[in-house]
C-alpha cells in the first residue's frame, strides 16, 4: 500500500539515484575495495590488508601534505569568506549599472580556466620581471621569489585561491544580503545603530545559513585543493609540490601515486582517507549547526 502510494516519488528520484549510484557510490565502494590491494590497474590485485594505509600514513609526503593542508585551510577559508563578505557589502552598496559592473568584475576569476589563472599569477609572481616585484621595486624592496621561496609559497597560493574563490562566495553572499528585510535595518537605525553595528548585529546573524553554506563549501573545496598548486609549481606526475614540497597537498600526492608510481591500490586508499575526512568534517559542521540552532 505504502509502496504503491510512494511509487511516483520513487520513480521521480530514480534517475538521480541511478546516476548517484553509478558515478558516486560505486566509485567510492570500488575505491574502498581496491584500497586493500596492491594493484597497478591491469594485473591481478594482491590483497595486502591495511598495508596501503600504513604506507601512506607513515610516509613523509603524507605528513607534509597534511601539514600544508592544515595551514592552507586555516588561512584561506576564513580569509576568503571575509573578503567575499566585504566585496558583497561593497557591491550591495552600489546601485544600477555599477552594481552589475562590480559583480561581474569580481566574478570574472571564477570563470577563468585554472591554467590561465595560474599563468597570469606565475607572471605576476615572477622574480625581477613580475608585476608584483616591479611594484615592490618602486618601494625599494628586493625581488622576492614568491613561487620558489619556501617562506612565501603558501601565501602566494592563498592569494591566488582567495582571488578566485572570493567572486563565487561574493555572489552567494550578495544573494543572501538581498533577502534581508529592510525593516530590520530601519529598526536598527531608529535604535541609533551605526553602520558597523548594523553589519555585526543584523547582517551577519541574518546571513547565518548563507555563511554556513559558504564556509562548509569552502572547507570541502580547500581539502581537495589540486589544480592551482599543481600549475603554480609546474608539477608533473614524477615531480610535484614545488621546492621542498612547500606546496604539496593530499590530492597531488594521491595523483602522483596513481599515475606517477602506478600504485592504484595505494592511491585508492589515499582517496578513501580523504573521502572519510571530508565526510567527517561536513558531518561535524552540520552537527555544530544543529547544536547551535538548538541553543
Amino acid at each position: 500500500m505504502s509502496l504503491r502510494r510512494h511509487l511516483p516519488h520513487y520513480l521521480m528520484i530514480a534517475p538521480f539515484m541511478i546516476l548517484f549510484a553509478a558515478f558516486f557510490l560505486y566509485p567510492i565502494l570500488s575505491g574502498l575495495y581496491y584500497s586493500f590491494f596492491d594493484w597497478n590497474g591491469v594485473g591481478t590485485p594482491n590483497y595486502v590488508g591495511l598495508a596501503n594505509y600504513q604506507s601512506i600514513v607513515g610516509s613523509r609526503d603524507f605528513t607534509r601534505a597534511m601539514t600544508n593542508l592544515a595551514q592552507y585551510i586555516v588561512i584561506t577559508v576564513p580569509l576568503g569568506i571575509l573578503i567575499a563578505l566585504a566585496l558583497a557589502l561593497l557591491v550591495d552598496s552600489f546601485t544600477g549599472r555599477w552594481a552589475g559592473f562590480f559583480r561581474n568584475a569580481y566574478f570574472m576569476p571564477v570563470v577563468l580556466p585554472a591554467f590561465l589563472a595560474a599563468t597570469i599569477w606565475r607572471w605576476i609572481y615572477a622574480p625581477n620581471f613580475g608585476l608584483l616585484n616591479m611594484i615592490l621595486g618602486w618601494f625599494g624592496v628586493r625581488s622576492i621569489n614568491f613561487l620558489n621561496d619556501t617562506g612565501t609559497m603558501l601565501y602566494a597560493l592563498i592569494a591566488v585561491d582567495v582571488w578566485v574563490s572570493a567572486g563565487f562566495n561574493m555572489v552567494i553572499i550578495l544573494a543572501g544580503l538581498k533577502n534581508i528585510p529592510m525593516e530590520l535595518y530601519e529598526a536598527a537605525r531608529l535604535d541609533g545603530a551605526s553602520k558597523w553595528q548594523q553589519i555585526v548585529h543584523v547582517t551577519i546573524p541574518m546571513l547565518g545559513p548563507v555563511l554556513f553554506f559558504v564556509f562548509t563549501y569552502g572547507l570541502i573545496s580547500a581539502m581537495q585543493v589540486f589544480d592551482k598548486p599543481w600549475l603554480l609549481t609546474g608539477s608533473s606526475f614524477t615531480s610535484y609540490g614545488g621546492r621542498r614540497h612547500a606546496l604539496l597537498f593530499p590530492v597531488m600526492d594521491m595523483m602522483g601515486r596513481a599515475f606517477g608510481g602506478v600504485r592504484f591500490g595505494e592511491a585508492a586508499a589515499y582517496g578513501f582517507i580523504l573521502t572519510v575526512a571530508i565526510v567527517a568534517v561536513t558531518a561535524f559542521m552540520f552537527a555544530l549547526r544543529a547544536w547551535r540552532e538548538r541553543q
Binding site: N128, F129, N148, G234, F237, T238, S239, G261, V262
Partner: protein, 424 residues
C-alpha cells in the same frame, strides 16, 4: 526471352556477389589507428609534417586511417595508463623513455622485439646505439623505437659575458673555469645561472659535470640508487658555490628566459627547445648568444643529461600495422626531414649524419652533447621509479644549498633516503 531473363538474373547475381565481396574486403581492411604525440608535435609546421607522414603511409596502405592527437606530457602518461586499464589504448604513441617502466607495468607497451628483428639490417643499423639500448630492458625485449631526444646545452649570453670582461671566443673548458666566469658575472652585477637545485633534470645536469651514467640512476637488482656519495658531495658543494650567483628561478621558468633575453643572465643549461625563443629574440631585440657543451671537471669531459622520447606500440589487434607505422616514421628519410624542419636532434644516427642535417649548428652541437651526456634515469623499462625519488633528490639539493646540511652530510642523507624510497 526466358534465356535473356536467365542471363540477366545471372548477371545480377554475379554483380551482387562482387558488391558483397567488395564490401566485405573493405570492411576487413578498414582500420583506424589512433596516434598520440606530444602537443608541440601537433601544431604548426610539425603537425603539417606529421600529417604528410600519415598521408604517405596511408597511400601505401589503402583502407588505413590514422588519427593524430596532441597531448601534454602528463596527459600522455595518464591517458596511456588509463587506456591500458580500460582497454582503450592508442595504437601508436610517443612518450619519454623514463616513464617506460610504468607503461610496461600496466601492459600499455607491446614487446616489439620479434618485429624489430624481422626488419632489414639496413633499417636496424640506422639508430643510435645508446638510444636503442634504452628501449631494451633485457635480451629479447624491445619496448620502443627511439625517436627525438636531446643532450643538454650551455646557452651563453655573449653580451653579459663581455660586460663581465670574459673572453667569449673560447667556451669554458672545465667546471673551475666556468665557476670563475660565473663569479665575474656576479661581480659585474648580473646573474650567472638559474637555481639548478629546483628541477630534477638540472640537478642531474650538474651532477654529470662530475659523474656519469654508471654513477647515476638505479640498481634494480637490489633496489638501490647508483649515486656515488663522494660525487654527490662534490656536486652539492657546487650548488652551495652557486647560491650567491644564481637568479633564483628554475631553468624551466619563463622568468629565466626573460632574464637571458634582457641581458641579465649569463648561462642557461637546458635542452635545445629554448633555441627558437632565443633565435627570435636575436632577430627582434639583438640578443647575442651561442650554445656550447656543458663543461665537466676535467678538460674533455662534458656535463649535461640526455634523454629520448620514444614511439611505442600498444598490444592488440592492430599491433602489426601500428609497428609498421612506427617503423615508417622513425626511418632515416622521415627523421632527416623532421630534423631539418625543427633543427632538433633525434635518435636516428643515419639521419643525423645526413650532410644537410649535420650542417645545422644546433644539431651538430646536440649530437656531441648527447654523446658526452649522462642518461637521466637509466636503466629504463626495468623498474617504475617511485615518486619519492625525484623529490628526495630535489629536497636534499635545496636543503644543502640552503645550508641545512654540509655537502657530505647532504649526500649521505640523500643516498640513505633514496635507498629507503627504492626499497619500498
Amino acid at each position: 526471352m526466358k534465356t535473356i531473363i536467365r542471363h540477366c538474373a545471372r548477371l545480377a547475381g554475379a554483380a551482387a556477389l562482387i558488391v558483397a565481396g567488395m564490401i566485405s574486403t573493405a570492411a576487413a581492411e578498414d582500420v583506424t589507428l589512433e596516434y598520440w604525440v606530444y602537443s608541440d608535435f601537433a601544431q604548426g609546421d610539425a603537425l603539417a609534417l606529421q600529417q604528410e607522414f600519415i598521408k604517405e603511409f596511408t597511400a601505401k596502405h589503402p583502407g588505413v586511417k590514422i588519427n593524430i592527437t596532441g597531448k601534454g606530457d602528463d596527459d600522455l602518461t595518464a591517458g596511456q595508463v588509463a587506456g591500458a586499464v580500460s582497454g582503450n589504448l592508442p595504437d601508436v604513441f610517443m612518450n619519454s623513455q623514463s616513464v617506460g617502466a610504468e607503461l610496461v607495468k600496466v601492459k600499455a607497451l607491446a614487446n616489439i622485439y620479434d618485429k624489430w628483428m624481422a626488419m632489414p639490417e639496413e633499417y636496424r643499423a640506422q639508430f643510435d646505439k645508446d638510444a636503442l639500448e634504452g628501449c631494451m630492458a633485457k635480451p629479447g625485449e624491445l619496448y620502443c623505437l627511439p625517436y627525438t631526444g636531446f643532450g643538454s646545452l650551455l646557452f651563453r649570453n655573449l653580451t653579459v659575458l663581455q660586460k663581465a670582461g670574459i673572453d667569449t671566443s673560447k667556451p669554458p673548458a672545465t667546471w673551475d673555469e666556468w665557476l670563475e666566469q660565473m663569479k665575474k658575472v656576479k661581480q659585474a652585477g648580473m646573474y650567472a645561472i638559474p637555481d639548478e637545485t629546483l628541477i630534477f633534470n638540472s640537478i642531474a645536469e650538474i651532477y654529470a659535470t662530475s659523474g656519469n651514467t654508471k654513477s647515476w640512476g638505479f640498481n634494480w637488482d637490489n633496489h638501490t640508487t647508483r649515486i656515488d656519495p663522494k660525487i654527490m658531495a662534490k656536486v652539492l658543494g657546487k650548488f652551495v658555490d652557486m647560491v650567491p650567483l644564481n637568479s633564483g628561478t628554475s631553468r624551466n621558468d619563463q622568468a629565466t628566459k626573460d632574464l637571458f633575453i634582457s641581458n641579465q643572465l649569463a648561462f642557461h643549461t637546458v635542452g635545445p627547445w629554448v633555441n627558437p625563443t632565443y633565435e627570435q629574440a636575436a632577430k627582434n631585440s639583438g640578443l647575442k648568444y651561442d650554445f656550447v657543451l656543458i663543461p665537466g671537471d676535467e678538460p674533455g669531459k662534458t656535463g649535461g643529461i640526455r634523454s629520448y622520447e620514444m614511439v611505442g606500440v600498444a598490444p592488440g589487434k592492430h599491433e602489426d600495422l601500428a609497428f609498421q607505422f612506427a617503423a615508417f616514421i622513425t626511418e632515416k628519410t622521415q627523421m632527416a626531414r623532421w630534423a631539418k624542419l625543427l633543427a632538433r636532434y633525434n635518435a636516428n644516427a643515419a639521419a643525423m649524419a645526413d650532410p644537410e642535417v649535420s650542417a645545422l649548428p644546433l644539431i651538430k652541437t646536440s649530437v656531441d652533447a648527447a654523446h658526452g651526456a649522462m642518461d637521466v634515469a637509466a636503466p629504463y623499462f626495468v623498474g617504475a621509479v617511485p615518486n619519492c625519488y625525484n623529490s628526495i633528490v630535489i629536497d636534499m639539493a635545496s636543503a644543502t644549498a640552503d645550508g641545512e646540511y654540509t655537502p657530505e652530510e647532504g649526500a649521505k642523507q640523500m643516498i640513505s633516503e633514496l635507498n629507503d624510497c627504492l626499497a619500498k
